[in-house]
């Protein structure tokens, strides 16, 4: 069997497997909103964790991160260790507070949740636009990444447009058919695949390249700066502080992760996900960074973006064809695991927060019908746009983290601070988004390495506090939410659905 045929066979098997998983999940999904959007609020342990973790891991782990390590060494990991390994998992506690209230009052989307907390349709519209605006470029990069991967791995036998179409169609099928349950099940398989691939090649590459001592010896002689923590350029103190803020609670600010958190069956399942998060992150990121670092000694002289594919270059150069085929499957898995959640959440918000809210006659069953139609329409549009030549789209997607991060003040104040008001929340969002967008457009200089996210979050938080204190209290709305948390804190019974689990 030729190399291309083997690669194609593996990719086709993976795609069929995903479709079958989606079909199986669809058979267990009812036609009501809770079932389709939230898997009946019944995600447990491994599936819940994989649904959250898989959604949060994008193609950047296999393509961008090793490239950064290739050029910058271990600094990227050391710079991100605190937010990713320690601070970010605390987001699961925020998720727990949202989970309690969402379960009590039947909320499904973050827009709906905060609309009720702040009693403001205007804020809800702004949040919706912000979430959609920053999610769409993300989905687009998934389609583009999938198309490019299939084209590259099959040496052009599968053209870009066919590869992108295949990825789009399979994601469309299982998301349309099985909703949250299908995306959670497929995410579990996808997460297992991409983690297994990274752990496999981090073991195979060193032995095929003459051993770690030889690789590291080369680096120590020729590029010793890659082995220590740099404090220059992108790793400066200002950049480190900015990245600490950027990654601290980013999973809580992603609407597609928020929805998965409130789909947990019990608070214990959510807690376990938070504890497992650092370990899984090391199992995923450490191989990607080590391979990028070792790649600097194994395949020298790559410039700029060429190094992004260093993992797959080493795989092709040093390892058997089946490993390269596995690599393609892993790459498709990591691409799809984010795309499906994003597209489902966008459809969910369009259906619930726009159609359902402004067309009051829409029943929950009709909302599911609308959401399913939106899944297909949005993916068709995304695929169409992916065929256009849009070189800046990856920059926008990368910058989307900043766009989501400036939601922090209102998202966190909404669940902790009674005195926060809708005007404070709106001011925070407007100020934060304005600073984020103008930072992306480079309308103001970077001072001391501090990136737009630093200014967006701090000034957004300041705006929220000042404007909230200057505007009328919203005690009734705040009490409705805080009473739920107080019941738990003071030992009264939790929602019935959490008891006995």
């Amino acid at each position: 069997m030729s190399e291309t045929a083997l690669v194609l066979l593996c990719a086709a098997t993976f795609i069929v497997f995903m479709a079958l998983l989606g079909r199986a999940a669809a058979a267990r999904t009812k036609h009501d909103a809770e079932s389709y959007f939230l898997a009946d609020r019944g995600l447990r342990r491994t599936v819940l964790f994989a649904a959250i973790f898989g959604t949060n891991m994008t193609a950047f782990v296999m393509l961008g991160l090793p490239g950064v390590a290739y050029h910058g060494g271990i600094s990227i990991w050391l710079m991100l260790a605190t937010p990713l390994l320690f601070v970010m998992p605390l987001s699961f506690y925020f998720g727990y507070r949202c989970w309690l209230v969402a379960r009590r009052y039947g909320y499904i989307t973050p827009v709906e949740f905060y609309r009720e907390r702040f009693q403001s349709d205007g804020l809800a519209i702004l949040m919706f636009l912000g979430f959609v605006g920053w999610t769409v470029p993300y989905i687009l990069t998934g389609v583009i990444g999938g198309g490019r991967a299939l084209e590259t791995f099959t040496d052009g036998t599968v053209p870009y447009w066919v590869g992108g179409l295949a990825v789009t169609l399979v994601v469309a099928y299982y998301t349309w058919a099985g909703g949250m349950k299908a995306t959670a099940w497929t995410n579990t398989a996808q997460t297992a695949l991409f983690m297994a691939f990274l752990l496999l090649i981090v073991l195979l590459v060193p032995s095929a390249a003459g051993g770690t001592e030889r690789i590291i010896g080369t680096l120590q002689r020729e590029q010793p700066e890659l082995l220590v923590r740099s404090w220059e350029g992108p790793f400066s103190l200002g950049a480190t502080v900015s990245q600490l803020i950027l990654f601290s609670f980013i999973i809580f600010a992603f609407p597609f992760v928020w929805v998965r958190m409130i789909s947990a069956r019990s608070s214990k399942d959510l807690r376990i996900s938070g504890i497992a998060y650092p370990i899984a992150l090391v199992a995923t990121w450490a191989p990607a960074i080590l391979l990028g670092l070792w790649g600097a000694a194994v395949i020298r002289g790559l410039a700029g973006g060429e190094a992004d594919s260093i993992i797959f270059m080493m795989t092709a150069q040093l390892l058997p064809t089946w490993v390269a085929a596995f690599g393609l499957v892993a790459l498709l898995a990591i691409v799809m695991s984010s795309m499906d959640a994003q597209i489902l959440t966008l459809s969910n918000m369009l259906s619930r927060d726009i159609v359902g809210h402004y067309r009051s006659t829409t029943s929950p069953t009709e909302q599911v019908r609308f959401a399913r139609a939106f899944v297909l329409v949005l993916l068709a549009l995304t695929y169409g746009v992916s065929l256009l030549d849009m070189p800046g789209i990856f920059d926008v997607a990368q910058f989307a983290f900043t766009g989501f991060a400036v939601f922090y003040p209102l998202l966190i104040a909404g669940i902790f601070w009674r005195r926060a008001t809708k005007w404070g929340a709106i001011a925070s969002l407007v100020v934060g988004q304005t600073i984020a967008i103008s930072g992306y457009l480079e309308w103001y200089p970077v001072v001391g390495g501090l990136q737009p996210v630093f200014w967006g979050v701090t000034l957004g938080a300041l705006s929220l506090v000042v404007v909230s204190l200057l505007t009328p209290r919203q005690d009734a709305a705040a009490d409705r939410f805080h009473s739920v948390w107080n019941e738990v804190r003071h030992g009264k019974p939790q929602p019935a659905s959490d008891q006995g689990k």
Partner: protein
């Protein structure tokens, strides 16, 4: 929420942040263990510690389910 629990949780957060900075001290040397730079290995161990620290903080601030 019990103030003592909050103080202990805060102390854990401070210790974890301090450990991060300790890991950066001496960043001009590049010793390697089993092909892994020492600072990188330190932060892999930090992940295991993070899981324990997060578990401890959750126990302190996340109320028991059957109270």
């Amino acid at each position: 929420m019990n103030r003592t629990r909050l103080v202990i949780a805060g102390a854990i957060v401070i210790v974890m942040l301090a450990l991060q900075w300790i890991g950066w001290i001496g960043s001009t040397a590049e010793p390697v263990i089993l092909g892994i730079p020492i600072q990188f290995a330190y932060f892999i161990a930090y992940a295991a510690l993070s899981a324990v620290a997060v578990w401890a903080i959750f126990r302190l601030v996340w109320p028991a389910r059957h109270k």
